[in-house]
């Protein structure tokens, strides 16, 4: 058994050694060291198993045994602008496109940005004046709690996206970061990394998209870090619609300075197994965050969301609304913790998770948690799991709507609150279609 585990790890180790040797001369030494430390950490902890409380309901065995190979930089897939067009948010005027983890300059657009704003892939950033930004934020002392997936992402930290907003910069059009999985000769493991640094009083909207061009059985292991400066505002959409054969493990960590605002909306439609770990630290007074999301899964899909909203300072506000729609034989996990530290007086924290089960075979495990150590706070949380209301259904049907259409309309009504929150038309439309497609699938049966 030990030998088995060692062998799996060493397949990553072999790829790691090759990568380190390749990069020895072109990447900064601090990065090579950071990766080495991370690789050691990964070898120490391995992938989490269901024995770990946080992974109780999500079995990553298929990833461990999956024989995924970190894609080498030269394993390029032929993909043109036409193939990519369907995945682009037309609202965005700048974008970085990565295919199987590899940056594709010819598919990207980084003009049209206000002076001083940087939207660049890491290779470009390492070579330029913003190397110091990467160094300052990426090479921070690593969290001892970092799990195997995070460690592996750091070990393979090579390609990624830097979004840097200098003080006062206002970027009105959204910035899209698109990570595409395309069928390749090997079942690819890719390690996207995103760093967003919003200096004081800056503002921008980031669309982080994950999609597949085919039915690829890929493994995406992404880490996104967002630093929101004083009075800065970052609006962040994460849209995951990878193939239903894909594995998607992602971590989003955000840290907010005084009166910073972070508004995250996540849409989970794809992957056979997806896990999104979210950590938002309200580190200074007056910071405010929204952490909202919708997961919509069907037969064969498993979607897990784990979030920690960490109130370490007074007068901060957090809002969290997660909704789940589960059809067929699907499974979802929601675990949301709001942690209010002793000094975080006047915290206002709201958290809610609502689930709609469209089939008797769907299952959800939800656990909203409040841990409060301050005494003057306003906190509320709750979770619901329900089915479509028979009386609502009858009301619609009694007006002549076919049962399927009525069910669909009620399902849409359940999600509406979140759909309405989305300010990007193309994302909204995708979501509408995703809900509608489920109806068509049912009508065809």
């Amino acid at each position: 058994m030990m030998a088995q585990a060692t062998k799996e790890k060493s397949s990553y180790r072999a790829a790691f050694e090759v990568m380190q040797a390749e990069d020895a001369r072109c990447l900064p030494a601090w990065l090579l060291r950071l990766r080495e430390t991370a690789m050691e950490r990964f070898e120490q902890v391995g992938f989490p198993t269901t024995d770990v409380e946080d992974w109780k309901y999500t079995n990553t065995g298929a990833i461990t045994k999956g024989a995924f190979a970190p894609v080498a930089a030269d394993a390029r897939v032929e993909l043109g602008a036409d193939d990519v067009a369907a995945f682009l948010a037309p609202e965005a005027s700048s974008r970085l496109v990565f295919v199987n983890g590899v940056y594709r300059a010819e598919l990207s657009a980084t003009e049209n940005l206000p002076a001083g704003v940087v939207v660049a892939d890491f290779a470009t950033a390492f070579a330029g004046e913003h190397e110091s930004v990467l160094r300052a934020y990426l090479a921070r002392p690593s969290d001892p709690e970092v799990d195997g997936f995070n460690a592996l992402n750091a070990a393979f930290l090579r390609e990624g996206a830097l979004v840097y907003l200098p003080k006062g910069a206002q970027v009105s059009a959204p910035i899209q970061l698109l990570f595409l999985s395309a069928p390749a000769t090997q079942t690819a493991a890719v390690f996207p990394r995103v760093l967003v640094v919003a200096e004081r009083e800056s503002a921008a909207t980031i669309i982080e998209s994950y999609a597949s061009t085919g039915e690829s059985r890929s493994f995406t292991n992404a880490v996104v870090e967002v630093f929101v400066g004083e009075n800065a505002r970052v609006t962040h959409y994460k849209v995951q619609r990878e193939s239903e054969a894909a594995f998607h493990i992602a971590t989003t960590n955000a840290e907010l300075e005084r009166s910073g605002v972070y508004d995250l909306t996540t849409i989970t439609l794809g992957a056979q197994l997806s896990r999104h770990g979210i950590g938002v630290k309200l580190a200074h007074e007056g910071a405010e965050c929204w952490v909202d999301g919708l997961y919509l899964v069907g037969t064969g899909q498993h979607a897990d969301t784990h979030s920690l909203i960490d109130h370490t300072s007074p007068h901060c506000t957090s809002h969290q609304l997660y909704k789940g729609i589960l059809d067929g034989k699907s499974r979802a996990v929601f675990n949301g913790k709001v942690f209010v530290h002793k000094d975080a007086q006047k915290t206002d924290a709201q958290q809610s998770n609502k689930n709609l089960l469209l089939s008797n075979e769907a299952r959800v495990d939800t656990k909203p948690q409040l841990e409060i150590y301050a005494d003057d706070v306003k906190c509320a949380h709750g979770a619901t799991v329900g089915q479509l209301e028979e009386e609502e259904l009858f009301y619609l049907v009694s007006r002549g709507l076919h049962t399927d259409l009525a069910r669909n309309l009620l399902t849409y009504g359940f999600a509406e609150e979140l759909v309405e929150k989305i300010k990007i038309e193309s994302i909204k439309r995708q979501l509408d279609e995703a809900i509608l497609n489920r109806l068509h699938a049912r009508l065809e049966v």
Partner: protein
């Protein structure tokens, strides 16, 4: 148009309708009155096809078709409409969106062109005037946060849009103040014509001053115990239901224990 023959129905194992017979012809307005709990709403729900209500015997013909064989949505598309006593709130589904879908389902059924959202908006605006409904309510969720009166108006607005052949209005007058009652009644009168029929379910005579029925029936303990013209409603207003109850107990001593 509607022929109910010796209808028996139960809900949650309890027999509620115990032999209702009623014939409604095109162009007629029938009022069904009766004390609370006599089965008026049950009759309305059975006609609309609510799944909780089980028909144990009897038959219902609608334009010669066996109504009870049709699914609730088929009944609606055939032209049966129920204005609910307690309209349901549906969060997240806009009135306009829902009504357009319902309207288009019916158009499709009749082999007519569907209306796009803009065309439908115009139609809805025009029909909303019939019940003096604020068009702003149309972009809001179905009945959500509506006052009691707005909910009832919304039911009649739906009737105005869907133009049913048979409309069953269940206590549409309850919870309305006198102004709203007048508006809603005038709306219903505008929708009344020679080709459709209306069944008004009401507890009070008040509504019938505005919408004058051709026939009045009294439902008591699941049976129609008395039928007459509009003067029957006036007699009920004057004397209450007690004399009807007494009469019914005398002529049907087994009714209570059946």
């Amino acid at each position: 148009m509607l022929e109910i023959r010796d209808l028996h129905a139960r809900v949650e194992g309890k027999d509620i309708l115990r032999g209702v017979s009623l014939t409604v012809k095109r162009g007629e307005v029938h009022a069904i009155m009766g004390p609370n709990g006599s089965g008026k709403s049950t009759l309305a729900k059975v006609l609309a096809g609510h799944p909780s209500y089980e028909v144990t015997s009897g038959e219902v013909l609608f334009d010669g078709k066996n109504l009870l064989e049709l699914e609730p949505d088929e009944r609606a598309r055939e032209g049966v409409f129920l204005a609910f006593q307690y309209p349901v709130e549906i969060p997240g589904v806009s009135n306009a969106q829902f009504l357009r879908l319902a309207y288009n389902e019916k158009r499709k059924h009749l082999g007519e062109e569907e209306l796009d959202p803009l065309e439908f908006k115009d139609l809805l605006k025009e029909r909303a005037q019939i019940v003096e409904m604020d068009a702003g309510l149309m972009s809001r969720s179905v009945n959500e946060g509506f006052s009691g009166g707005e909910k009832k108006r919304n039911e009649i607005l739906q009737m105005a849009v869907l133009e049913p052949k048979l409309a069953v209005l269940d206590e549409t007058d309850s919870g309305l103040d006198i102004d709203a009652l007048r508006i809603v009644s005038e709306g219903v009168n505008k929708l009344r014509h020679a080709d459709n029929a209306i069944v008004l379910v009401t507890h009070y005579q008040r509504l019938l001053n505005y919408i004058v029925p051709d026939y009045v029936h009294v439902l008591y303990k699941g049976r129609i115990v008395r039928s007459g013209g509009k003067e029957l409603a006036l007699a009920l207003e004057e004397k209450g239901y007690d004399w009807i109850k007494d009469e019914a107990e005398e002529s049907q001593p087994s009714a209570a224990s059946a």
